[in-house]
Symmetry: C2
Subunit: 421 residues, 2 copies
Amino acid sequence: MNCEIIAVGDEVLFGDILNTNAQYIAAGLSDAGAVVQWQTVAGDSPALIRQALATALTRCDTVITTGGLGPTYDDITKEAAAEWLGVPLRRNEAIAQQLRDYFASTGREMTENNLKQADIPEGAMPLPNPNGTAPGILLQKDGKLLIQLPGPPREMRPMFQNHVLPVIAAQTEKKRASRTLKIFGFPEAAVESRLRERMLSTQNPTIAPYVKNGEVEVRLRAQAPTAEAAYALTEPYAQEIHQLFGLNNYSLNGETLAQVLVNTLAAKGLRAATAESCTGGMVSAAITAVPGSSRVFDGGVCSYSNEAKTRLLGVRPETLKQCGAVSEPCAGEMADGIRRLMQADLGISVTGIAGPTGGTEQKPVGTVCFGLSTPTGTITLTRQYRASGDDVRENSRTRATMEALFLLLKAAVEWKEAPHV
Amino acid sequence: MNCEIIAVGDEVLFGDILNTNAQYIAAGLSDAGAVVQWQTVAGDSPALIRQALATALTRCDTVITTGGLGPTYDDITKEAAAEWLGVPLRRNEAIAQQLRDYFASTGREMTENNLKQADIPEGAMPLPNPNGTAPGILLQKDGKLLIQLPGPPREMRPMFQNHVLPVIAAQTEKKRASRTLKIFGFPEAAVESRLRERMLSTQNPTIAPYVKNGEVEVRLRAQAPTAEAAYALTEPYAQEIHQLFGLNNYSLNGETLAQVLVNTLAAKGLRAATAESCTGGMVSAAITAVPGSSRVFDGGVCSYSNEAKTRLLGVRPETLKQCGAVSEPCAGEMADGIRRLMQADLGISVTGIAGPTGGTEQKPVGTVCFGLSTPTGTITLTRQYRASGDDVRENSRTRATMEALFLLLKAAVEWKEAPHV
């Protein structure tokens, strides 16, 4: 099954918004065992939409459009589909009633324009839209399958999951499994060079590394008659990669670093606390993004100014005076201070120069110090992130957040029963 | 000038990664006054790339490819371009030397495969790549322009800015200006209904609202002989929209809510402090994402557990017992507590049930309480965000973060000289 995905809309075409819909549909189709052959973006004009549909239906057997179904577009996408079928649009009374109910339930006024959304090509199967007004449609002709979905992701995604994927999966012989291994602390080139031989030696699964937010994701993807068998094909490679990278390969199935950290802390009955300067709360925000993180996290402090470091965390004024706020001694005292204050098992601290300004020759932009306080001692370390670029501040903050989470994870994994302090 | 953008790569086609390159190039071309007519994604196969190029060069006069230039792809994209020109690939000695220098400077070994990147179609103009190994190329034939850029954004973006946009801008008669107005606190439907008449009455500028992360962005875009004249065309509409929405239209040129807040606090000489429960540090992270935020922000507390609320912020145990942690009385005491602790002018607090579990009949998932403490008094309020959906936790946390920033902004704007407490 060869598929083309057509995203309709000037807002995507002109670069106003990211084409997240095409990625979502492509990933879903691929996992269902279909082959995505093309992706196209067409503007909001009848001629362009007609041309895109004609081209796609020539070169692929399955075509999925997204967008161009709202009342403001005058339904040009649906009309193009009706033309292809050679049939008129007909009002579907069931959809019309759903529209009336939808507007009644949201208390909004329904216009005649809205009711036009109940007009679908004769013979098309409507796909219900519980999250909006535009129904999807599914058409078949001459062995070709044409599916039209609305553009808003909240409406498109459930419709794709519930009404499109089952149809696709029923027509594909092979199923696919894909899984993501996440590796922190190795540059992409180092991951690639360690994996190169394996990447070249196997086509099923395929092995592909991608750089994402300061870490490397390795995507394994296999095909087999069932999804379970496909997943089983990935397993030996996943285990082999895990052997190669150890704890740095913290996730074998796409979990975030914070998720793995929260699970590990919970399994060991540990509680962590955070003291943040340059990351300003990003570490605690990442931990609390995980549902159930209250089992392992009471809270933390964002001590942005020197005074806050002294007042809230007990950092000594002499340390700040002699070493500065961005120093390992300060990071160590911050970590000790937050562990004490929150009566936690592990205290982590981050203090650095995020940029874009504020760097010195000794401590350039991108210098970040970390402290990790445990009942058996305190360690500190310094990282130097990229010091320039448009996104220097975001880059150093994101990487420092990952590093802090990883330091906590490492400490939790290596935790030996120790007296609680 | 009609343009097609072709992103080459299975990783985009199959949905492994978002096609951010196409959006970046499309937005740049549009602002330079070119018309983006099509976007296409082609897989890593010579036949598909040839087919995509042939189709694009038939229907557009300018074609820009991104990706498919690395050594691992065997340079099939470049070979397809040479075929179109009807010329062979020739080694370019200047590029070969740059490659040798690049590998020497990074301490990596250069293989014969890498050196193949110095082979470009005869007569093509190479575009230097200071951030990687694959040069871009620019070709012209029969009035058509074909530009090939590497895929990694760090390499593609500067090459596009420095070597492609000037060429495009020189060939377009009209320039475009686009600006983004941001509106917080109005649902999209309400923004649309207030703007509908204006949206329909003007084509230059165009006016288009988009929903983004709990707020609405209104994009104004105008064309004129110069970028300055185009911008001037947007001005009366921007002012009119600002009149309509008042402070809720907090940004007239795309600044984030946190940026506007930091600037407003700084202009008034005010300092703010944060006390966060369900947002877990997202408010302080947003504020400290703004360079120079130390002028207005000393720090804050993430008081995730009840004990932390009591110990760090002085929330009374009776309040927690009688009203619960997610209550306006608790939010008020948190806000007062953090303002006192940090000796700030404004204290903001957030406490809520982010979900996906933990809701009750009285306080369902998505219930969030806010407190704002000022020298003249403390106000509290409660919001009810969406209680279901895959992203319910992220949604309520993001919206609560925006609400907290907006409450601070409103307080700063309305601030009258008052005795410092």
